[in-house]
Symmetry: C2
Subunit: 267 residues, 2 copies
C-alpha cells in the first residue's frame, strides 16, 4: 500500500500527519505492507504526479487523504481525474449521498439548508467511472477507483471521517485480499549499552531468526543509553509469529547481559 496525503498544512508544519500514522498502523495490523507515504501540496499537478508515480510502482492499494471538501483548495478529485485522464462529472450516487446529509442537517438547524450549491455539488463531482463510498460521519463521500492491478481510495482529511470510511468500507476488502497474514510486534529495552555495541548483537539474532525484523530506537543519547528494541514479524497466524518474536527476544537479552548491558524484557 502507498499513502498520499494532500494538504499544505502538513507541509508547513501546521498539522502533524496523524492520518498517515493511523492508516499505517491499521494497514500494518491487517498484514498490509505500507511501502511509502507521500505528502503533497494542494496543487492539481502535484497530486496528479504523486498518483501517477505511485501507480508506476504497482502497489495493490493507494489511499489518499484530504482534499475532498467543498472549498477551492480541495483539489484531490481534480488531481485524480488528471492522473487518470478522465473527465470530472456529477456522480448521481455521490450526489444522492450529499443530498441525504444536507437533508439531515436541515432537521437539526434553524435555517433549513438543503440547497445543492456549487460548493456542495463539488463534493459529488467525481472522475468518471469511479464509485463513491459512504461517509458515515461527514458530508464528502470517499471515492474508489479500480485500476489495472491497483485500487485507489480517496478519503477526506478530517480524521474522524477518514477513519470511519476506512473502517466501514476498506478494512473488509483488505482482509479479503491479505488472507490470514498477521503482523505481530513486541518491544524490549536495553540500558547501559551504546547502540553501536548493540548493533552486532542484533545482527546475530536476526541471522539466527529468519523473518524477525529487529530495529533499535535510541530514547536518549548514545552515552546515556536507553534503547527500545522493536521486534516485528509478518507471517501466517499458524506459523505462530509471537513465539518466534519471544525466542529472538530471549536470545538478544542473553547476548546483552553477556556484554554487560541491562536487558529489560516484559513477558
Amino acid at each position: 500500500m502507498e499513502i498520499i496525503c494532500v494538504g499544505n498544512e502538513l507541509l508547513i508544519g501546521k498539522t502533524l500527519n496523524t492520518n498517515a500514522n493511523w492508516l499505517g498502523r491499521q494497514a500494518t495490523n491487517l498484514g498490509v505492507n505500507v511501502k511509502r507515504v507521500t505528502v503533497v501540496q494542494d496543487i492539481v499537478d502535484e497530486i496528479a504526479d504523486a498518483i501517477c508515480e505511485a501507480r508506476e510502482r504497482k502497489p495493490h492499494f493507494i489511499v489518499t487523504t484530504g482534499g475532498l471538501g467543498p472549498t477551492f483548495d480541495d483539489k484531490t478529485l481534480e488531481g485524480i481525474a488528471k492522473a487518470l485522464n478522465r473527465k470530472l462529472e456529477i456522480n448521481e450516487r455521490a450526489l444522492a449521498m450529499v443530498k441525504v446529509r444536507y437533508a439531515e442537517y436541515a432537521k437539526t438547524r434553524h435555517v433549513p439548508e438543503t440547497e445543492i450549491t456549487p460548493a456542495r455539488a463539488k463534493m459529488a463531482t467525481l472522475p468518471e467511472k469511479t464509485e463513491p463510498m459512504n461517509n458515515p460521519v461527514g458530508t464528502a463521500p470517499g471515492v474508489r477507483v479500480d485500476l489495472r492491478g491497483t485500487v485507489l481510495f480517496a478519503l477526506p482529511g478530517v480524521p474522524s471521517e477518514m477513519e470511519a470510511i476506512f473502517t466501514e468500507t476498506i478494512v473488509p476488502l483488505l482482509k479479503r485480499v491479505v488472507g490470514d497474514r498477521v503482523f505481530r510486534e513486541k518491544s524490549m529495552f536495553v540500558d547501559n549499552m551504546m547502540e553501536s555495541r548493540l548493533a552486532p548483537l542484533i545482527d546475530k539474532v536476526m541471522s539466527a531468526n529468519k523473518g524477525v525484523y529487529i530495529k533499535s530506537h535510541p530514547m536518549a543519547a548514545e552515552n546515556k543509553p536507553h534503547i527500545e528494541i522493536h521486534l516485528t514479524v509478518s507471517a501466517k497466524d499458524e506459523e505462530k509469529p509471537m513465539e518466534t518474536i519471544i525466542k529472538a527476544m530471549k536470545q538478544l537479552a542473553v547476548l546483552v547481559e553477556q556484554n554487560d548491558g541491562v536487558a529489560i524484557v516484559e513477558t
Copy 2:
C-alpha cells in the same frame, strides 16, 4: 525544499512523523517552500529511488532524516551512494568527529569505549565527495552533498540530533539563499456556518487580496460548524505581509457576519 524521511517505524504507524512537521515549520518560517515529504522504508533501493525522484524535480534543497546510525538498518548513506552512483568510503573528517565523541563518552563512563568498531566506523563511511556536518548532541555526523542545483542534507532520525544539526549548520545557509522573504500567518474562527457556505466567501476574499492563501480547517462536523480559517502570506518583509493578512481577515469576517455566521477574530 523536499523532505525524505527514512524509517519503517514511520510507515507502520509506530512513530508519528514529528521530524517532518518540525522541519516543515522551520523551513516555512524561514520563507522556504516545502513542496513534498516522502517517507520510505529502510531499504537501500527505496531510499535511492526517493532521492533520484526528488532530484529530478530540482528542488534547491533535499533534507533526509533517519538512517545514519550504527545498526544494520541504518541505510541512508548507502541509499545516497547508490542514488548518486558514488562509492562509500571512510571520510577522515567524519571519522575524527566520531572519535571525538567516543573519547568524550569514555570520560563519563566506567568502561572506556574508544575503540572504533565496524558499527562505529559505519557512521563515518560516507559517499565520496561529501561533507560531514558536526552533530553537537550525538554521535552520527550529518552529511552535506552539493549537487548540480540542489544541496542534499542527510540528518539523523533522533529528533534532538536532527534539530541541532539543522539549526547549527543548515539554517544559516537557508537564510542566505532565501534573503528577505518571510512567511506570515494568522488564524480566525467561524462558527455557525457550514464549510460549504463559507467556500464562496473565501473565494471572494482571495480574489480581492492577491498573495493571501486562505485555507479552512473544519474542527467539528459540517452540521455543527466550528472552522479554523488559516491565512498565510509569503512575501518580502517590506511588503508588510501581516497588514495584508489582517485586511483580508477583516473582509472575510464582514462577509461571514452578513451571511449569519459568527466570525471570531483575535487582534
